[in-house]
């Protein structure tokens, strides 16, 4: 279990199961944090990398609903879509996630919202994929320019 913790966001990379788990606490009750995940007018404010424009195709966050959005970067569009498998207001979202550049790949995501004392919320977001290779690409893929630089540095280290 490889765990990195600093002030708030905690990442767990499991060695036995191809999953990545993120744990984060918020200074707001679960209903509010949940609403920010379910309201199409709100999700565009925070999901997706800062430098990219997020364009919603549709976002119907209820059990049996689905979503699709585009990230626009330097004139390039990257599509993402998935289904909302279970939406239990205030407590649970189970959804799928596919990057349309790799349409055969899918992550199963489970978001658990827990009310904490003092009106705070703990969010635990677990992404499960079907192979360790896909999981590693998932971790590496979130880093854009970083991953190329990282590979170059690893190549250099390995070449010594």
């Amino acid at each position: 279990m490889t765990t990195t913790r600093t002030r708030q966001t905690m990442i767990t990379v499991d060695p036995d199961v191809p999953l990545v788990r993120i744990t984060r606490e918020f200074d707001a009750p679960a209903a509010k944090v949940f609403r920010a995940h379910t309201d199409p007018a709100l999700v565009t404010h925070w999901i997706g990398p800062r430098r990219h424009e997020m364009r919603l195709d549709h976002y119907d966050c209820r059990t049996g609903g689905s979503y699709r959005y585009l990230m626009v970067s330097n004139g390039n569009e990257f599509g993402f879509h998935g289904s909302f498998h279970e939406v239990r207001p205030g407590t649970l979202i189970v959804q799928t996630f596919t990057f349309e550049g790799q349409p055969d790949g899918v992550a199963l995501e489970r978001l658990v919202f827990e009310d904490l004392p003092d009106g705070r919320t703990r969010l635990t977001a677990t992404s499960l994929v079907d192979s360790f290779e896909a999981r590693d690409a998932f971790v590496a893929g979130g880093m854009e320019e970083g991953v190329r630089e990282g590979y170059e540095r690893l190549d250099e280290l390995l070449a010594r």
Partner: protein
């Protein structure tokens, strides 16, 4: 064998025995006999684990001495830790935007928005 170096490092560390070997090598260099000592496995099995770690670039073995001492490549291990740290930072960046959004929302908000009428599907 998996193609990219990150996957090799991840899968090399996916095994508890290899993780334990890496932890012990972080303290001091060792050799096959020394590494095999605490485990109830054959020297061949330990050599096999070492080969995986070596192919991932996590350890190197000197070809000069007869006992071929094993050395941990701490920088490679560190690089993987940093990879995860970058991923963590990206998630943190996203969630601090969510923090900002939450401060602008009323406290008594419903957990889900009202049903979308005539929403495009």
């Amino acid at each position: 064998m998996t193609a990219d170096p990150l996957s090799r490092v991840f899968s090399a560390l996916a095994d508890p025995t290899r993780r334990d070997m890496v932890a012990r090598l972080a303290v001091a260099d060792s050799d096959v006999n020394g590494l095999a000592e605490p485990y109830d496995v054959s020297l061949q099995a330990v050599s096999k684990h070492l080969k995986v770690l070596e192919e991932a670039g996590l350890v190197s073995r000197s070809r000069q001495a007869q006992r071929r001492p094993v050395h941990l490549e701490a920088e490679v291990l560190d690089l993987m830790t940093r990879w995860i740290e970058r991923y963590r930072r990206q998630a943190e960046e996203r969630y601090s935007r969510l923090d900002d959004l939450l401060t602008t929302m009323p406290d008594d908000v419903e957990p889900v928005p009202p049903p979308q009428t005539g929403a495009q599907r």
